[in-house]
């Protein structure tokens, strides 16, 4: 091959690189290994993590331990879905494009909004992306504030704040009252009101009145939604929400220590040309047959560059594909059955756990699949005691909500049975009791 090129050595091909920039020693990396050895190493690393197969997991707080049906693996591992890139050549990408179109349809159905894109990165950055859409939509420097509910996932609030700083915009927090959002007076400087459904503490928000308040102030209303509960709750679009976003992990994606999953992004017709990222649209081919293409590309960076509605390029197509397969697997009635099962088990768990001595409901709002408790004992110590029994009782709220220093967020999925919940109640009871007696007699305590 060098002969064809007309050079004498490989080195000549790198002649453009200044001599002293060329690395004369190997990179500081361990030597390469055989497939077997790499497998063994990665398995050993995996073995040092406690997965949801290793313990009874009641962690949620944005990602949930749902069962992913086997047919998803079987479909998304097909090389035809796994290995191509963004469908720049629609004629040989109809599979991916049609799947996007079907996905968008499902998201529109769930959110009650007419427009969906084909995916964004994930949940919290989707909230930030919605903020950017609000900023673009107003296009008025005077709309310089986002009012964000304290019930929005802390990661979402932080991701928005990171970006908003670049836009010279301020993020104002709306407090929670008895577990749900209490909006402050909204001025004309508000760009968007951003809430979460159900909120971070599990409570169902009254989206309609929140959206109304936002609109009254001329602001947009953005709702970050957990998609499964949407099968039961009023659709954000029906409540007047302008942009509904959310984390898609629960729709057929594995936990993967936080990613990759996908974010969904749905909006009103009015915002269609502000939406970030890829959108698949229906069209016809030269022979009049139905086909699908990436559409409204004039929103996008590769066409509009600095005028684009977002810089997003590679998104989460494969994860969104898993999402639409999952939704097809659940089906119109299955999704409701699944959600109602979670609802009933969550109600049971809430009753069981709040009946435990030293454990109280943090709020009494209706919840779907997750609820917040406060403990009369140091929450981290209680969690550690439960962990020793193979139970992860939930997410400690203290870091994000100092006002709930011993708060615990407990999530239920269809994988958590009554028997599991009973085990949790027992373990939690023991742990709290142990910690309380330790508190009472700190000198004599051993752990």
């Amino acid at each position: 091959m060098l002969r064809t090129i007309g050079v004498a050595s490989l080195a000549e091909l790198f002649a453009d690189i200044p001599d002293h920039l060329r690395l004369e020693r190997p990179l500081d990396l361990d030597p390469g290994r055989s497939e077997l050895e790499v497998y063994e190493e990665l398995r050993a690393l995996a073995g040092r993590n406690t997965s949801t197969e290793d313990e009874l997991c009641f962690l949620g707080a944005g990602m949930y331990d749902h069962y992913v049906p086997a047919l998803i693996d079987s479909i998304i591992s097909r090389s035809e879905f796994l290995t191509p890139y963004t469908p720049y050549q629609p004629e040989v990408s109809q599979g991916g494009l049609q799947a996007m179109f079907e996905y968008q349809t499902a998201i529109c159905e769930l959110t009650g909004l007419p427009v969906s894109n084909a995916s964004v990165y994930e949940g919290p950055s989707a909230v930030a992306a919605a903020g950017y859409v609000a900023k673009l939509a107003h296009d008025q420097p005077s709309r310089s504030r986002f009012v964000v509910s304290r019930g929005v996932h802390p990661h979402s609030r932080q991701a928005l704040a990171t970006l908003a700083h670049g836009w010279d915009m301020e993020v104002i927090e709306a407090p929670l009252h008895d577990g749900v959002t209490e909006l402050p007076e909204l001025d004309a400087d508000v760009s968007a009101v951003i809430v979460q459904q159900p909120n971070f503490l599990g409570a169902i928000e009254d989206l309609e009145s929140l959206a109304e308040a936002a609109h009254d102030a001329g602001a947009l209303c953005v709702a970050a939604c957990d998609p499964l509960p949407l099968s039961l709750l009023r659709a954000p679009g029906d409540c007047g929400v302008d942009v509904a976003v959310g984390e898609g992990q629960t729709l057929g994606n594995r936990l993967d220590f936080g990613g990759p999953s996908f974010g969904f992004f749905a909006a009103t017709e009015a915002l269609i040309r502000r939406v970030p990222g890829r959108i698949a649209g229906e069209t016809v081919d030269a022979e009049g047959r139905r086909g699908f293409v990436l559409t409204l590309q004039t929103r996008e960076q590769h066409i509009r560059r600095e005028k684009a509605t977002s810089n997003i390029c590679t998104a989460q197509a494969l994860n969104a594909l898993a999402g639409v397969i999952y939704l097809s697997w659940l089906g119109r009635h299955g999704i409701v059955e699944l959600t109602e099962l979670m609802l009933q088990r969550t109600a049971y768990a809430r009753e069981r756990l709040t009946a435990v001595a030293g454990v109280h409901a943090l709020h009494d709002q209706p919840v779907v699949r997750e609820f917040a408790l406060t403990l009369d004992a140091p929450v981290q110590a209680v969690i550690d005691r439960c962990a020793a029994q193979g139970i992860n009782p939930g997410y400690p709220l203290g870091r994000d909500y100092p006002e709930h220093a011993n708060g615990l967020l407990v999530a239920i999925t269809e994988k958590r049975t009554r028997g599991h919940i009973d085990r949790l109640a027992a373990a939690l009871g023991e742990a709290v009791a142990a910690e309380r007696s330790r508190d009472a007699d700190p000198a004599g305590a051993t752990r």
């Binding site: 050079v7 920039l21 060329r22 190997p26 990179l27 500081d28 290994r33 990665l42 690393l45 993590n49 997965s51 479909i75 090389s79 035809e80 796994l82 290995t83 191509p84 720049y88 040989v92 990408s93 109809q94 599979g95 991916g96 799947a99 179109f101 079907e102 499902a106 159905e109 769930l110 990165y121 950055s125 991701a159 990171t162 700083h165 670049g166 836009w167 709750l233 936990l255 993967d256 220590f257 990759p260 649209g281 022979e287 047959r289 559409t295 560059r305 600095e306 390029c313 590679t314 494969l318 594909l321 939704l327 659940l330 089906g331 119109r332 099962l341 009933q344 209706p366 992860n392 009554r418």
Partner: protein, 502 residues
């Protein structure tokens, strides 16, 4: 020609029939409360979302059929320039699927996620070594997310030094994400020109590198597939202006183990793990866009950061402990939820472990060899007569041809050539990018292709050009053998139908 079952082309919604289902709910094992007691009716929806009603066999067939309407890298040549469509080793899917990785909750206590944190830490160290920059954050979700992080880091750096700059420079060859990022980060884009050899125009750069410039975003090798001759000069100019130098790592596949962005003077680098580090592209993601930075940028890295406690000075014999460090007062904050696309990290880490230093260097050497071989082959076959190379230089891992003469002489556009390639069972290269080159065709063969494949591709181009000389209409109406013919994108955009009416 196909061994495939009939495909009626319906959507999953069109296959729906009342009463069909795949999902069976586990039985209710707790006392049932009336729905109204749990969620007041006014908060509930009246109509269930109209998801399809289909059985498992139908779902499988539906998506299997859809899959057959996709061209894929595991079946054919995919020289999509700038995208590094190289083989993704199958091992990576296996290790990423291990329960300890795939079923690990992101909020698991770090003490019970030591394997994951160690993997991330080791990946950080490896990427740092490759970039030649000491600090890495894995958080960004893709290349453009990394860019955004990089520009926000620049902002934080300047602000921390009491400066407020307003402009970011990008070459006119830059990928669209660069200017889009600049705007999204609240800066103004200033374009820098390209000189006759395809390098950044140094004079133009000097002229524009004023003290309101925060950053120059550069891709090196550039999107033209060329190594910047003046890279050191560029670094000097940028740094003297008090700006940061940002490295768009989309083209890292050309230089791994050969030279390092840090040594060139870059302050911030993003990696596209789905390009150089074999996360499968997934039809448009997932990816990951970690960033590596110099010491002076480190304080601003996103929160949290994966750290090893104890580090070098830890007690001998004691295992190191890995943790998430939230205590980063100068951090730009979070870019997203949790710790990034961990599943991607597993794959990229497996890749780096498999290859080691020597293997990574081989990758880049062969990537560059393949590109230059293909270019030479196209020249030898006369293809460059119609599609001259944009800049006559040794290329790196990819090169750009211009279809302008072809359009003039053979009356087919680059788009037509691309569509005709589909009929030959090859994925077209990137077209109409970089914008700078008229009728551009950006070809990146990658290191995992054989000489036979490159020869065959050259042969196909020869055939298409010969055919066009005879009858340009064939290419102009191509493709002819794909599941659908050329699609009307304009109509789609004019009256957008972005969901199925149900």
């Amino acid at each position: 020609m196909t061994a495939t079952a009939a495909d009626d082309g319906l959507t999953i919604y069109e296959r729906s029939r009342p009463g069909r289902r795949a999902f069976v709910a586990p039985g209710l094992d707790v006392p049932e409360h009336p729905l109204d007691d749990l969620v007041p009716a006014r908060l509930r929806r009246a109509e269930t979302p109209r998801l399809p009603e289909v059985s498992e066999p139908e779902i499988v067939r539906h998506y299997n059929r859809l899959s057959k309407r996709n061209f894929d890298l595991d079946t054919g040549f995919y020289p999509l320039g700038s995208c590094t469509m190289k083989h993704n080793p199958k091992l990576h899917e296996r290790v990423a699927a291990l329960d300890g990785h795939a079923r690990l909750h992101p909020l698991q206590d770090p003490r019970r996620a030591q394997g994951a944190l160690e993997l991330m830490w080791r990946l950080q160290e490896s990427l740092a070594a490759i970039a030649g920059l000491p600090h890495v954050s894995l958080q960004p979700s893709a290349g453009s997310h990394g860019e955004l992080a990089g520009v926000l880091l620049t902002r934080a750096f300047h602000e921390d030094h009491g400066e407020r700059r307003t402009k970011v420079l990008t070459p006119d060859t830059a990928h669209g994400t660069n200017p889009a990022t600049v705007t999204m980060a609240g800066y103004e884009v200033v374009k820098v020109g390209t000189d006759a050899q395809g390098n950044v125009d140094l004079d133009d750069l000097r002229a524009k590198a004023s003290d309101d410039v925060a950053c120059l975003m550069l891709t090196n090798p550039s999107t033209l597939g060329l190594f910047e001759h003046g890279i050191e000069e560029i670094a000097t100019i940028v740094h003297e202006a008090g700006a940061t130098l940002y490295y768009d790592g989309a083209n890292l596949n050309a230089i791994m183990g050969i030279c390092r962005p840090g040594d060139m003077g870059f302050d911030i680098v993003h990696f596209n793990l789905h390009k150089s580090f074999t996360q499968p592209h997934g039809g448009g993601g997932p990816g990951a866009g970690p960033i590596a930075v110099s010491d002076r940028i480190e304080p601003y890295l996103p929160r949290p950061q994966v750290v090893r406690r104890g580090g070098a000075d830890r007690v001998p014999g004691e295992d190191p402990v890995f943790d998430l460090d939230y205590d980063r007062p100068k951090s730009i904050g979070r870019l997203r939820g949790f710790q990034g696309n961990y599943g991607v990290f597993v794959r990229s880490y497996a890749y780096i472990r498999s290859l080691g230093a020597a293997g990574l260097r081989d990758v880049s050497e062969v990537a560059v060899l393949n590109a230059n071989y293909l270019l030479a082959k196209l020249r030898a076959e006369g293809v460059l007569d119609h599609l001259p190379v944009a800049y006559e230089r040794i290329c790196m891992h990819e090169f750009v041809l211009s279809g302008a003469p072809m359009k003039r002489d053979l009356k087919i556009r680059t788009l037509d050539l691309a569509k005709r390639l589909l009929d030959h069972g090859v994925h077209p290269p990137t077209v109409y990018f970089p914008l700078l080159v008229d009728e551009a065709l950006l070809i990146e063969p990658t290191e995992t292709e054989t000489k036979e494949t490159l020869d065959r591709f050259a042969q196909i181009l020869v055939e298409i050009l010969r055919e066009a000389a005879d009858d340009p209409e064939i290419a102009r109406t191509a493709p002819h053998t794909t599941p659908v013919r050329r699609l009307d994108e304009a109509a789609a955009a004019r009256r957008p139908v972005v969901r199925q009416a149900l």
